[in-house]
């Protein structure tokens, strides 16, 4: 079963064959997206303060009025994905029965994780449990019970629900594109809704919106992220915080990301993701060993147990009787954030999951990343809690003031702080690179009309564009405004995600049931047959022999 013999295989060789000057793009999607991005950047630079106000009001209105809807959506999606894991579609292979995975399982996990949420975990793994320990709506702050609750709330926000949303979008795109032959593009997810119209302007508009949203999503987190990296560096080295340093950081990250995207998925992105995960693993291992090892090991089991015991309660809690607004800034914000990012992450997951069965897919995209996330949050969050509860304390204060520094303050409590802090910075930067390069890859695939191995010139263009947009917005202002704008797309996309559940279920049922050849309306003229028995051998001799 050699891979190259299978017709359904995405041929890794074509990545190299395409050459530099081969620019095979979808003209409408590519140029209109580029134009719109330019337009939005200019508008944001001119009307920054105005725009920020508008988008923040929109976002808070969405949280006010549609919070319940987000909670419904993520729970429905989680149940749906779990039924796929257990159900009769588990053996369907993405890419057809002959397809085989393109990447090793470890490389696959590394890429999923690096694109999915790696970077946020570095900052919030320490910070979020601290926030909830100090204040949460469920139990009295600062108590043992609040420590337990703090970990549980963090698990809820980073656990099964976000990965279920990513799984759903990834699975829909992968199934309809690899098994049904539609283009690998966001418009494909709308096929059951719009039918053939996805090939026309309806589809173009969907792809253009996805491109613009993904680019701004990735660029604004890059822009805001380097401010945090700068804060961390300043804390460590005292180099100060300035736009110059941040622009240099953006430049550096963009260059590495561009290199990785141009090298392609296997040689660039996969390798970088693996390096990235290895360094992150080393850092986590170090904290585990020199930190309160026994406390962490105990906590891991208890946290997971607590999470599953209270999952139904916590994931459906809606502040109904409390009438507070705590959830808006936390749970609802997270849900709309994950959903807004799901086209990008889902698309990337779909691209790298060719050849997996649905059961492997759900195990690999829902359960494994969730477990790794829990491990990470437990190692860092519980260490912080340990210091806060039984040690020197002081972390919660730092967290309230300056989230990005929290990781470094935590590391200061342990020996070898220079090495670990350097490792910390390297991990943060490589995580930025990996989310930036996967973002560009996704945009490349969309703007090349669904080609899973997009042309090199277009990869170069989008990777550089991303850094450029981040840099320009950083200097001119407008990062927060555009990021808020990106998150507001979570609401319309939540509606779409629910539609995707129905569409995917229908598609899978049809695919798994016995199918027949049928041909439609045809001219029905009847002719008399006048065949005469041909008994002599009048066939042309075959040249086979």
């Amino acid at each position: 079963m050699e891979e190259k013999n299978s017709t359904q295989q995405i041929d890794p060789e074509t990545q190299a064959d395409e050459g530099w000057f081969h620019l095979d793009v979808h003209p409408q999607v590519f140029f209109i997206s580029a134009g719109l991005i330019l337009f939005f950047v200019v508008v944001t630079l001119v009307f920054n303060e105005h725009m920020e106000g508008i988008f923040q009001q929109t976002q808070s209105a969405i949280s006010d009025y549609a919070g319940w809807f987000f909670i419904w959506t993520v729970n429905i999606v989680l149940v749906f994905i779990l039924t796929l894991l257990a159900g009769r579609f588990g053996n369907i292979r993405l890419g057809g029965p002959d397809a085989r995975p393109e990447f090793s399982t470890l490389g696959w996990f590394a890429m999923l994780f690096s694109a999915g949420m790696g970077i946020g975990l570095l900052f919030y793994g320490v910070a979020e449990p601290m926030f909830h320990y100090v204040a949460n709506p469920h139990v009295e702050a600062g108590t043992t019970e609040s420590a337990r609750m703090a970990m549980d709330i963090t698990f809820l926000h980073w656990g099964l629900h976000p990965w279920a949303v990513y799984s759903l979008v990834g699975l829909s795109l992968a199934f309809f594109s690899f098994n049904k032959g539609l283009p690998l593009s966001i418009r494909t997810a709308f096929y059951p809704l719009f039918g053939e119209r996805i090939y026309g302007w309806t589809g173009h508009i969907i792809d253009i919106l996805a491109t613009v949203a993904t680019l701004f999503g990735v660029a604004t987190s890059l822009g805001l992220g380097v401010q945090q990296v700068n804060a961390g560096l300043d804390h460590l080295l005292g180099i100060g915080q300035s736009a110059q340093i941040q622009v240099v950081l953006i430049g550096g990250i963009t260059l590495i990301a561009t290199w990785s995207v141009v090298k392609g998925l296997d040689k660039g992105i996969r390798r970088l993701s693996e390096i990235n995960i290895t360094i992150a693993g080393l850092l986590a291992l170090f904290v585990l060993l020199v930190g309160p090892t026994l406390f962490i090991m105990n906590a891991l089991l208890e946290n997971i147990g607590y999470y599953f015991q209270y999952l139904p309660k916590l994931s459906t809690w809606n502040e109904t009787y409390e009438r507070t607004e705590w959830q808006h800034g936390w749970t609802i914000f997270y849900w709309s954030w994950w959903i807004a990012w799901s086209p990008f992450v889902g698309m990337f997951i779909a691209r790298v999951s060719h050849g997996r069965t649905i059961r492997q897919f759900v195990l690999g995209v829902l359960l494994v990343p969730t477990f790794i996330t829990f491990l990470w949050i437990t190692i860092f969050g519980n260490t912080a809690l340990f210091i806060e509860m039984f040690g020197g304390g002081g972390i919660s204060r730092v967290v309230q003031e300056n989230i990005p520094v929290s990781l470094f303050v935590l590391l200061e409590n342990f020996p070898l702080r220079t090495i670990t802090s350097t490792l910390g910075i390297v991990v943060i930067i490589t995580f930025f690179v990996t989310s930036s390069d996967s973002g560009s890859m996704v945009i490349d695939i969309i703007t090349s009309g669904g080609n899973p191995n997009p042309p090199v010139l277009s990869r170069l263009f989008w990777a550089l564009m991303e850094g450029l947009v981040a840099g320009v917005l950083l200097i001119g202002g407008g990062l927060v405004a555009l990021q808020t704008a990106t998150i507001t797309t979570g609401l319309p996309f939540a509606v779409i995600i629910l539609g995707m559940c129905v569409a995917l279920y229908r598609g899978l049922s049809e695919y798994a049931s016995p199918q027949e050849f049928t041909i439609g309306e045809r001219p029905a003229a009847e002719f008399k047959i006048r065949t005469k028995p041909v008994l002599n051998k009048t066939f042309g001799r075959r040249r086979l022999w």
């Binding site: 017709t7 359904q8 057809g96 199918q515 027949e516 050849f517 041909i519 075959r542 086979l544 022999w545």
Partner: protein
């Protein structure tokens, strides 16, 4: 297993006719492989410049009449022809809506000798009996012919009308070859034996050309096969 396979492919497998003036004469079997209206059949069934057409099998369930007087043919045209490998790719002349199963094309390298296969066709079309038949067999051997065409031998005696029909892997229900005819030694050895020879060497073995050669034709036509 065989029932599922028959249910799946009975609509795909059609009779191939050619029009010679007023005559409609039966040529063999052809089968649908692509939703854009493409058929595969054996290359040697196509001779001269006759108008070709296909006729679907009688769609009535249960027992179908043994003889038919009239047909409602659908015109097709030849898109690709590979005489060396004895394959032809045909297409509906008009646009016709087609729905078909996914992944019907199998991977022939995965089929071991001894694997059960089935073939569908209209074996007795030359004798004015237009009923669709399914037969099952096992792969006897995988051979490479004089011009390096990959060929499956299977232990079933196919009749003239079967030619151009699909050879289906019973293990996964996908097409692995195009039935070429009986494995006749006269034909194979004709170069050595000369044309006059009519050796009484009978075999009960037939052959089919492996599907990957047909995939090459489909690629030439720019078809995306999933």
């Amino acid at each position: 297993m065989l029932q599922d396979m028959y249910f799946q492919y009975r609509g795909a497998c059609m009779m191939l006719f050619q029009q010679e003036g007023e005559e409609f004469s039966f040529r063999g079997t052809a089968f649908l492989v692509h939703p854009d209206g493409y058929f595969l059949t054996a290359g040697h069934l196509i001779t001269d410049n006759h108008d070709l057409m296909v006729v679907p099998a009688d769609e009535t369930e249960g027992f179908t009449p043994i003889r038919t007087e009239t047909v409602a043919p659908i015109p097709v045209e030849v898109r690709q022809l590979d005489r060396e490998r004895d394959l032809a790719l045909l297409r509906f002349k008009e646009e016709i809506d087609i729905s078909m199963p996914d992944h019907v094309i199998g991977a022939s390298e995965n089929v071991p000798v001894g694997n059960s296969v089935a073939c569908l066709g209209f074996p007795f079309g030359y004798y004015q009996i237009y009923n669709q038949l399914i037969k099952k067999a096992v792969i006897c051997s995988k051979i490479s012919s004089g011009n390096e065409t990959r060929i499956f031998l299977f232990d079933s005696l196919v009749h003239d009308g079967n030619r151009g029909g699909p050879l289906i892997n019973m293990h996964d229900g996908r097409i692995i070859g195009v039935v070429g005819g009986r494995f006749e030694l006269q034909e194979i050895l004709s170069r050595q034996l000369g044309k006059t020879s009519d050796l009484p060497i009978k075999t009960d073995v037939s052959y089919a050309v492996s599907i990957e050669h047909a995939m090459e034709l489909m690629k030439k036509e720019g078809l995306n096969v999933i």
